[in-house]
């Protein structure tokens, strides 16, 4: 079962940046891309657990700040040649608000 949360205004996440959300299971990173879409992933790189929220947002990808792994925001999968996957969550923008749904 999933829970839907009204997170914040879109403007409270910097464009090409992110915010950290304290979720029951651990931190979730919510990203806002240059084209104003939002994506949410667990804030742990599949490589060494680096905080993806602190990485640089490139198109629809984020580069982990520790070792520069690239992670697809849409799927949570690492970009080849790296291999790994991080859990993703449903996020969307509605009327200027960011909505996040987290599996309970």
């Amino acid at each position: 079962m999933s829970q839907l949360y009204d997170l914040c205004a879109l403007d409270e996440i910097p464009r090409q940046g992110s915010r950290v959300v304290e979720a029951p299971h651990g931190d979730v990173a919510v990203f806002r891309t240059a084209d104003d879409r939002v994506f949410a992933l667990d804030d742990r790189c599949p490589h060494k657990g680096g905080p993806l929220s602190q990485g640089m947002v490139l198109g629809h990808r984020v580069a982990c700040p520790l070792h520069n792994w690239l992670i697809e925001l849409e799927s949570g999968e690492a970009v080849a040649p790296d291999q790994g996957c991080v859990r993703r969550h449903e996020a969307r923008v509605d009327n200027g608000r960011v909505w996040l749904s987290i599996e309970g």
């Binding site: 940046g17 950290v20 959300v21 304290e22 947002v57 070792h67």
Partner: protein, 820 residues
Amino acid sequence: MKKQKLVMVGNGMAGCRALEELLKIAPDLYDITVFGAEPHGNYNRILLSPVLAGEMTLPDIVLNDFDWYRDNRITLHAGKKVEKIDRVRRTVIAADGTVAEYDRLLLATGSTPFIPPVPGSDLPGVLGYRDIADTEAMIAAAQSHRHAVVIGAGLLGLEAANGLKLRGMDVTVIHIGDWIMERQLDRVAAGMLQKALEDRGLKFLLARHTEALVGGESGRVAAVRLKDGMTLPADLVVVAAGIRPATGLAESCGLHVNRGIVVSDTLQTVTDPRIYAVGECASHRGTAYGLVAPLFEQAKVCATHLAEFGIGRYTGSLTSTKLKVTGIDVFSAGDFTGGKETEEIALHDPAAGVYKKLVVKGDRLIGACLIGDTADGAWYFRLLKDQQDIREVRDHLMFGESSLGDTGHAGGNKAASMPDTAEVCGCNGVCKGTIVKAIRENGLFTVDEVKKHTKAASSCGSCTGLVEQILASTVGGAYKPTTAADKPVCGCTDLAHGAVRQAIRDNKYLSIPAAMQGMGWRTPNGCTTCRPALNYYLISTWPHEAEDDPQSRLINERAHANIQKDGTYSVVPRMLGGLTTPAELRAIADVADKYAVPTVKVTGGQRIDLLGIKKADLPAIWADLGEAGMVSGHAYGKSIRTVKTCVGSEHCRFGTQASMRLGVALERMLFAMWSPHKVKLAVSGCPRNCAEAGIKDVGIIGVDSGWEIHIAGNGGIKTEVAHFLCKAGSDDEVKQIAGAFLQLYREEAFYLERTVHYVHRVGFDHIKQRVVDDPENRQTLYERLLYALKDAADPWAEQVANAAKKRAFIPIRLTEPVSA
């Protein structure tokens, strides 16, 4: 729109590389059809020698298998030789009648072995050495026959002879020249190589001419007769007397051919602009290249033209040679014989089998010839290619790059002889075996590709030289070293750092999107390499005008703190000149208590580091420190870090100058200065130099009469002693000179280039002319620096004061869910 048709004739390394480059930049522009005379996909022809020697197998050397052609929707006619080109109807016709139409045609027919016209050269058992079929025929012959004769002691001939010997044949090499590999080696080096090969059982007959190949009763070749009357038994004759560009097809359709298909700098044939030629079949400015590195350069240029980008010209290549005979290291490049105006530096140790000769002209290295120890081949080749000024390092040149004072990872070891389990990259824990495997399995050719696949050399970079060598020894001649000056910034652009800086200045780009659009960036948002570089170039070129984009800075600069491996941060307040006060120390102690800071450490830059801080606590800590008057130490930035000082004449018995006073003044002047890389200064009050000014970007040493200014030292990965720039009489003069040098560095260096590498690249004289010899220029540089640093604000105070900025540090807490 209907797609254009591109037909490629020849399915070898150069042609396929051109297609790969084309697919990268214009994947949907053409319907592509490829004809290859051999019934295989594209393979690494250079590695046929290891296959012959039994060190690799054919599947190991495949670069593009049939799946690759299918995945890229390329129609491959493998095993179909094209016999005719009809330039009027724009079709090519293969021997079996297959016809393909083209809008553009790419000829990559390669070369064929030159077989001298001696009687018997058409007998069974006489082979050239070119392709998989030749290699297989040699392997088969070695199983059933005994005597092999190789004609020609060039690179290919020696590799063939070595392989046949390893497969158990009795091998004699016949050579016309007075010594072997005369195009790559001088007489001494050739003698040493010959001896090493003779020790392995090869036999040599030099300065001999073949008169005829004699057939036996079976019809197969049985002997080789020389002009001096000598006859050698031979069941297999490998002719390696050079190659000729395969131009028959081009000639038959009327293209201009002169020892190769004549092409322009865009790789278009001079006769018909619809037809391109790359690789060994092409003749560019009178040269047909036989080594793979130049062919890849041609392929890249050709691809950009096929993609209708219209940029890039091929202007010729400098080549180097490596012999692929395991256990015998040979390297040669440039003009290794020398002549009148040249000097030679040589080292000759016959017992150890080592010979090194470097040819120097003026202050430049122009040639190198190495036997036995080729570890520094890649370095010499770089010096040669870049035309670097070697005056400073000439004393050490012979002893290799590692003698220049690094910590031993730069490649002093012999890459080829390292065991697979040896660690190459200490930062990422990558062993040699992992790198070799990645190179072979993924067909890697550049250090960047190796970095991406293995992470080796992707952190501190000190093992780059070693990775380069492993790459060179694994892929052989296919490896082409690149240099900082002409290397593109990253995969998002073809422009090098210098060109990007120039474009930003010329076009007055003021934002990253404008710069990317103006320079034709390939990716919409760049990557972690180009974005921080562009951001720095913009704000340093157009201070107070260009937009500083925090999202294009790496995390440390964005968070104004250093991220640690567990995701916590460290905080280092500034202490000008390493001086502090009881009040400041008390504030630091209070912060450490209040926020339960787990580690408090004194840094190498004479200040205090608070480690293990949660990101959410950063703004509050900064606010507390700010109340005590402390500001950011920029310990996280590509920026001014510290000015380290000794006690100096204020207290020290030996001090001759007031080093603390000057240090504080310099650090205050440079506050919040962004730079291509981190910048560290030191001021010592006397030549005892307790502040270690000799290894700083700018090091200042007090003497009786004033100050000595040293620049471009480095205490990091590669320890480098700073060079004396000039003397200064007063504190103000030091500020002006040091400021002018740093401004020059800020304006000219490439992003992530430390002062040591920058000065090495542009030359010490370049700095001296602009900063010391030209007082007017010095003053304008200094003024530009002061203008850029005008009104510099404390970034910590800015984050604390601005609600939106501060918010970015605080996590969002989940409230009640809206619905279930």
